[in-house]
């Protein structure tokens, strides 16, 4: 997207301040140009037969006063530019944070979390750096050039035109350079993506590479990409620079061309001496702001690609709404003719489910049939494409995320823990919980035994993401959270991993506590564990293949029975 479009969007809420700053920069550039004008006046005076020294010294005094004014304006203008930049960046970060919260999980699942944090950190920071310096430079450069040229045209339009020629020649080159930078730049970004992919593969797969003695083979592949990247980055830097250099040469040539002609006019008595001198003294300085302008303009392209990413994220549709206080009267959950597809893959076609209050419903099926997706839909990580989901008499679509989440506890296969104490990790489920409540939840969730074995007990820090605990232990903490929260709906995604027997036993005990008097939905991987369920749905081929109780299902021919048979064989497996 264009720079102007993006800037317009960014400046939406700060227009007034922005124009206020522009005025200051405009005044500053005028003051920067006035000395040049007075210099010409002085030169004219000097070439008179009897220069008026008093007049000239008066001008010098005027210059001193103007300088003071110029410095004051400069301080004002630059401070304003920086302040407004950081006000805007604050707004941007707040907007992004707010928006991220309201987005569905769909956006998150396609991108690495680091994509979002780098957007909030690096892209916004690039805006801060380039906007606070680049914009003032661009503005004052632009105004100074215009003022200087107006002045030169007044002195002698022909010579001024020669100088202008240089600038006119530059313009297509600058745009060409921009085009090339954008084009090769995007190739470079692509290559960079490849490097990170290959490197992560090399790093994460190292134990495989070592155990098959192929570290060198993979390393060579990686090395080739490093080499290609080296070449490409070299070209990205070196390809546009001749274009920029050629445009610089144009400036020099235009100046020399002007001098060449000025000498001719002077020799033919078509040009007054002071004017010739003025052009010699001032003329070369015309290009200084231009050179700065060019560099800043190209720098702006970096900022712009970041802004484009930011705007794109802000344009993603949100999944939340502002309704509040819409609470269901009962906790029966109903999927009515639900259609859902993910990335053009149809996941469900006409799915109908009923999860009764105060009962346990299990979802069973081979992997990849969409059991977890049912839970994600219920937790509103995604919106359904067609059909409706109701909790009690309330449409899920009409509930705000906040209201919805007060009513469900979720236990994921993978539990995310904060790098904080176990105590605080449990406490987030109910910030006002007393220590006793938390300890009770730990006890019911069978956490006490392992917590007591830790050196610092419940105050032990769990490391980033909870690395210091085993999968089973993390899941028990997750159950403790759910117990503490005590929400009427419980969603439990049983871990696929076979936990060691002790852990499995404990989790079983903990689950029994949790499931009392709730609407419970379990995604079960071990059929043996779902005998307790009041109802079982077997999911296959995008819809419900079988439903019934355990004892009903084992009598039927079908997927359920097939899975059960495999599982029995597995249980009997012996090495």
């Amino acid at each position: 997207m264009g720079l102007i479009y993006n800037l317009k969007f960014i400046l939406k809420d700060n227009k007034k301040e922005f124009f206020n700053m522009l005025i200051f920069h405009f005044c500053h550039s005028i003051l920067m140009s006035i000395p040049t004008g007075l210099l010409v006046v002085i030169i004219f005076e000097l070439f008179k037969k009897n220069p008026n020294q008093g007049f000239i010294w008066n001008l010098i005094i005027l210059l001193v006063l103007l300088l003071a004014l110029q410095l004051w304006l400069s301080a004002k203008a630059y401070t304003k530019a920086s302040t407004i930049t950081y006000k805007i960046s604050k707004n941007l970060r707040m907007k992004l944070g707010n928006h991220l919260y309201k987005l569905g999980l769909g956006v998150f699942s396609k991108k690495n979390p680091s994509y979002f944090s780098s957007l909030l950190l690096e892209d916004v920071r690039s805006f801060e750096n380039h906007f606070s310096h680049g914009i003032p430079n661009l503005i004052s450069g632009f105004f100074s050039v215009i003022i200087l040229f107006l002045f030169l045209f007044a002195l002698n339009y022909k010579l001024a035109f020669f100088l202008l020629l240089g600038i006119i020649c530059i313009i297509p080159f600058v745009f060409l350079a921009k085009l090339i930078i954008v084009k090769v730049g995007s190739k470079l970004i692509e290559k960079r993506g490849q490097i990170s992919l290959r490197f992560l593969e090399y790093f994460d797969g190292m134990k495989y590479l070592k155990s098959f003695n192929v570290v060198d083979l993979k390393y060579n592949k990686l090395d080739n990409i490093f080499k290609e990247y080296k070449k490409l980055s070299f070209f990205v830097e070196i390809l546009p620079s001749p274009i920029i250099l050629v445009s610089l040469i144009f400036c020099e040539l235009a100046f020399l061309f002007m001098v060449y002609n000025a000498l001719e006019y002077y020799a033919n008595n078509e040009l007054l001496l002071p004017i010739l001198i003025s052009f010699l003294v001032i003329g070369y300085r015309v290009y200084d702001p231009i050179k700065l302008l060019m560099a800043d303009f190209l720098q702006m392209q970096h900022m712009n690609s970041g802004l484009t990413r930011i705007l794109k994220l802000l344009s993603y549709e949100t999944i939340d709404n502002d309704h509040s206080g819409i609470m269901p009267a009962s906790y029966d959950i109903k999927f009515n003719k639900v259609f859902f597809s993910y990335d053009n893959n149809k996941v469900f076609e006409n799915l109908n489910l009923l999860f009764k209050e105060n009962s346990i419903t299990a979802l069973v099926g081979y992997s990849g049939e969409g059991k977890s997706t049912i839970m994600s839909l219920l937790a509103k990580f995604w919106n359904v494409n067609k059909g409706e989901i109701k909790i009690g008499n309330v449409l899920l679509r009409d509930m705000s995320l906040h209201d919805l989440y007060t009513q469900i506890s979720m236990i994921f296969q993978e539990t995310y823990l904060f790098n904080d104490s176990i105590y605080n990790n449990i406490k987030i489920a109910k910030p006002k919980a007393t220590k006793n409540e938390i300890l009770l939840a730990c006890e019911k969730a069978q956490c006490i035994s392992f917590i007591n074995n830790l050196q610092e007990g419940i105050n032990t820090k769990v490391g980033e993401g909870g690395v210091k605990l085993s999968g089973g232990q993390k899941q028990r903490i997750s159950i403790a959270r759910a117990l503490l929260k005590d929400a009427p709906i419980v969603l439990f995604d049983e871990a696929t991993s076979a936990l060691d027997p002790q852990n499995e036993f404990y989790i079983h005990q903990a689950m029994k506590e949790l499931m009392k008097n709730k609407t419970v939905i379990i995604i079960a991987h071990k059929i043996a564990n779902i005998k307790i369920a009041n109802k079982i749905y077997v999911i296959a081929n995008k819809k419900v293949a079988q439903e019934g109780t355990y004892s009903e299902l084992i009598k039927q021919k079908g997927i359920f029975k097939e899975m059960l048979e495999y599982q029995e064989k597995n249980e009997g497996w012996k090495i």
């Binding site: 500053h28 920067m32 000395p35 002085i42 000097l46 300088l67 400069s74 301080a75 630059y78 401070t79 302040t83 970060r93 944070g97 998150f108 979390p113 909030l120 490197f199 790093f203 190292m206 134990k207 590479l209 155990s211 098959f212 003695n213 570290v215 993979k218 390393y219 090395d223 070299f234 001749p242 050629v246 020099e252 040539l253 060449y260 001719e264 010699l280 003294v281 070369y284 300085r285 200084d288 992997s367 995320l401 989440y405 995310y416 089973g472 959270r481 696929t496 991993s497 076979a498 060691d500 027997p501 852990n503 036993f505 899975m563 599982q567 597995n570 249980e571 009997g572 497996w573 090495i575």
Partner: protein
Amino acid sequence: MNKNNKEGVARLLQIAGYKKKLLIFSSLLSILHGILNLTPYLIIYAILFDITEQIFSLAKLQSYVIYGVGVMICSYLLFYVSLVSSHLAAFDIIYDFRKAIAQKLGKLSLGYLHNKQSGSIKKILIDDIEKLEGFIAHNLPDVVKSIMMPLIILCFMFYLDYRLAFASLIPLFVFLIWITFMIKSSHMKEIVKKYYDSSEHMDGVIVEYVKAINIMKVFNQEAKTFENYKSAIDSYTLQVIYFIKKNTPFFAILISFISNALLPILAIGLYLYFTQQVSLSTFLLFLILGVSYLKPILSLSTLANNMYSVMEGIKRVDTILEDKNQILDSKKKVNLKNYNIKFTNVSFAYDKQEVLKNINLDIPQGKITAFIGVSGAGKSTACELLARFYDVSQGKIEIGEHNIKDIDFSQLMNTVSYVFQDNFMFNDSLLNNITMGRNITKQKVINAAKIANIDSYINSLSAGYDTKYGEDGVVLSGGQKQKIQLARIILKDASIFILDEATSFFDAKNEYEIQKSINKLIVNKTVIVVAHRLSTIVNCDNIVLWDNGKIIAMGTHENLLKNCSKYQNMLEKRVS
């Protein structure tokens, strides 16, 4: 890439030194470019001189201008060559660093790698190293030029007229005094530190906010988290704006003053001219030269910030390059008489925590040994030591009476097959994923795939074994990946198997098929099973019960059932 304990700027210069010749060449050209770029000034001077001395000759002066055109074109050509060479140097150095890091990672012990986050190492390899480009290709030549050019012009000006030269220096003195004043002012230091702190704090909060956003939603902590997020951004903005109020006017005034520093030369020049101490042409030349020669110095003011972030990046690079956790390879091929494994007095500590304590154990060839115990009991660590993920802290592990440290590392790797729990796939064809890029006949691959129960699936794909996995390629289910891994292991045909019993099966059917293949695979090998399900191992020749880094019991199932209460305990829990 040797560091020799240098840090900060010295280290950066040392790095630049790896491509000394190119960089000196580049700097010389850059200076030459600067000198040639003075040509227009000289032409102006010549014209002013001739006119004021009334020896004006159109033909002569116009020919100067023509020469000037040629010189300027040459000058920019030189500049281009200078840019090319500084970039060649920069990208070469960056490439060398990337290579060194990748090689180093290949040599570090696997245990060490496990504890590193791939994301942060990736950031070092890609982003941190990239920062060197700015420093080597741009900052370095800029510094040389911004120091050399003013010096050269200054010499020239002193040659013409020392009084005016001094006058032109006045802005520079102001600049220096101003800067020293700023740097010396301890108050400023404090503000800068606060600014960096709040910025760092905000970064941390943002990263966690993004990572935890969904879990926070689920627990309805969004208001609190967002409050946290908001206050971090607020305090950052507050600090920055305070910093700006204190700092920006300072710099703005400086920049405005330097870029329009006409006044001192004008005033002093006029005085000297009126008192006839200087010629009009010299005075006018100073008006042009004296104002513009200071501008390069301005580019130095942003340098400090850049350098800081480059140095931070290099510090991180150096910590990887200097890591001592390398596995030493004896590179000696040995003749293994048998594949019996023997642990003698093995202890192992990690992060000062003892993980294994004085382990003695025999694992005979042709038998199946099972390791059981709760997670963290040491059973996996023992296996990792055998595969040299780490080296033992004390004692020794032998295979066929050779200490594994004395066996050529790749021979050891060929001897031991570790069946991992995760199923890592490479972004490559399925064939290469099974062969791991080695040269193996297709027939062997197909045979292995058949045993692993994946051949028929692969054949059902349109590109068969050449089907790409990963980006733009086929997506495999977890179970299918498990089978590919199995095919790899079958092809490797090692003599010792460490079977970390897959804890994670994607569904019962898949599990059944994999178990069938495993039973075929392990006939007549030395096998260690790290078991999670007791029913699996009741027939094993020897069951080793681990607890808290020690072996607490050993024997057959019947044996342990009779004599070991802990074992009985484990069985009971399973049954209930």
